[in-house]
Amino acid sequence: MSQPVTFLSRAEQLIGSDEAAAVEHGMRMFNNKRIAAVADFPLMEELRDRARAIRLHALSNLDRLLAHFADRVTAAGGIVHWASDAAEANQIVTDILGRTGSTRVVKSKSMVSEEIEINRHLEANGLEVVETDLGEFIVQLAGDTPSHIIAPVLHLTRQDVGRLFAAKLGVAFTDNPFELNRIARDHLREIFLAADAGISGVNMAVAESGSVILVTNEGNGRLTTTAPRIHIALMGMERIVSRWEDAAVVLETLARSATGQKLSVYTNVITGPRKPDDPDGPEEVHVVIIDNGRSEILAGETAEILACIRCGACLNVCPVFRTAGGHAYGTVYSGPVGSVVTPGLHGMEPWWELPYASTLCGACEEVCPVRIRIPHMLLKLREQAAREGRLPGWLDRGMARYADTVSNPKRWARAKTWASRLSGPISSKGWIRRLPGPGRGWTSSRDFPRPARESFGEWWRSRDGS
């Protein structure tokens, strides 16, 4: 997961690119749909409060809920596995596939599967894995990575997809979305029918019934989890609620916040394998409950981020995400939520810079369906980064000096006088075109106002004295 390249250098590559333009177009569309859906639903504010309470309750009772959930899954004939990290999760899946003689695997969209990089692992073991969510299918075909939690190919245009399909699937170029969809569908249908096993994520698990819920808009999740003999559900350990009543509240807020839909087109509920009188369904259902750093987040100051329901609304309103796009973050969880989750899951090194990739404008918290205090947590992570001595020396020492100066009235008065005098030679008509040192970052694109000859404080003294 190590990323030697910084957020800033990745962002610099992306700013102004076709990819960034596609991202901006896509996220504005999603955001406008969210705004319309919320405006149309007066209950939303109240449901957000309830969704928040439900998710926080689940987090503070996680041990109990997971144990209860595991019991219920087992009672329904499913098999529960516990994975403490990515390697363990991947090994569990490989073992299941090996034992059941499964070599052809289909997948529906799952962020946790991206997090543990399961495709790489399975392919290294000689298995064939095909993504069946249209966006993920495109990503896989292109050898790319997803750039948005719910819209993996937000960064591509339909022309990009048309060219990709023509090159990889041997079809004639088209940029008609319906045609593109049909091509993918035709291609995937045979693969679904031939698959031995299906791997899905879990949008939400319900403890009281041992069910996992999958929401999709394409129906591929349903095929993935019912057509093959084996279904393996990968579940981040925080994705749970106690009761069906709770699940309903979360589902109400999820689709509206994500895509502006009242409900996703498909909401699948899976409770154990096929029963004797079921016409279809898998012979085995496995739920792999994955920790992979979540326990540590839960014990720290950013625990609340685990209440996230992965709607992506915070990405769609973030000015930084909008400008640079998801790939700038260098991790599967991008945008505001990703900047909190990623250092939590994978450590501060090298991810400590992500919490700084924010203007702290607060738009994320404003739209979050579970009202996660994302800016607050970005600040907590910044505090941790500073405490660990990760900030550049000029900033650390400079800020300490500024604090001492500005908090001492005599020194502050002198500093203002000197700042004005020293800036004289480098300014013109009250503005500075090029600042030295770290200030270069400012004047790379903006003039900087020259410190005033007479500060407000001085003016007040002379006015008061007169």
């Binding site: 203007t359 738009a363 607050h376 980064a385 900030l391 005033a452 407000f456």
Partner: protein, 239 residues
């Protein structure tokens, strides 16, 4: 029109870089019938340090600010949504568990952002004027989302000629030290904002925070634009 006696916390940026905004704030408050006091030993609220995680430095600045203001009485008026939010909302986090907790609560409870004070607290009917201007108003983030400002500025600007600014509640890209640490990203967000300001047809860009304004003014200057950039106090005071 008799307003109360108020303490002005002018902010370090206004003090050193834009004293004209401070003077306009004094004139505004006096026009509103207030008696204005300026506690001379004030400095910086500490937000620049707090926002990059340097909490020790932030506590030094917050401590000085609190001590100075705690010796005074009455509303503390701040011509910045961002600094006001620091004092009303973030001191609580910064000083939790320290012996300044109560002091932060006491002083923070007196802090009011300028437009909030003028419209919500004293409602003097004061209105802005800007002869011959067409104004685009930018709603700064912390005022909107931390303080919950809504239409206070709109009400003060009633009677001026406004133009619609698309995305007027979206961030300008300043972000404090973000503007220096990640200049390319900050600039790209600003450029999108400035494109919209220019497209709005306004000849004057107004906001309630000097930090966002100097970022956008610096960008406009670099583009060679002649759009005027003014703090809302400058439209309320200098008349």
């Amino acid at each position: 029109m008799v307003g109360p006696k108020v303490q002005l916390f002018v902010t370090c940026l206004v003090d050193a870089l834009a004293p004209v905004v401070g003077r306009a704030t004094v004139e505004t408050l006096e026009r509103a019938g207030c008696e204005v006091a300026f506690p001379l030993e004030q400095g910086c609220c500490g937000q620049p340090a707090f926002n990059v995680g340097l909490v020790e430095s932030a506590r030094v600045m917050a401590g000085q600010t609190l001590d100075v203001l705690d010796r005074t009485e009455g509303p503390v008026v701040v011509p910045s949504g961002s600094c006001a939010a620091m004092m009303t909302h973030h001191y609580e986090t910064l000083l939790a568990g320290t012996d300044r907790e109560r002091q932060a609560e006491r002083v923070g409870g007196r802090v009011r952002e300028l437009t909030q004070f003028l419209v919500d607290d004293i409602d003097t009917g004061l209105t802005a004027s800007c002869e011959g201007c067409s104004i685009a108003f930018h709603h700064s983030c912390h005022g909107l989302r931390d303080l919950g400002l809504e239409d206070q500025a709109d009400r003060l600007l009633e009677g001026t000629r406004r133009v619609e600014l698309e995305g007027d509640r979206e961030c300008c890209g300043f972000g404090g030290l973000f503007s220096i640490e990640m200049p390319a990203v900050s600039t790209a967000i600003m450029d999108a904002k400035l494109d919209r300001v220019i497209a709005s047809g306004a000849d004057t860009l107004v906001a309630g925070d000097i930090s966002c304004l100097m970022h956008m003014a610096g960008g406009l200057r670099r583009r060679g634009s002649d759009i005027e950039v003014r703090h809302i106090a400058q439209l309320l005071g200098e008349q």
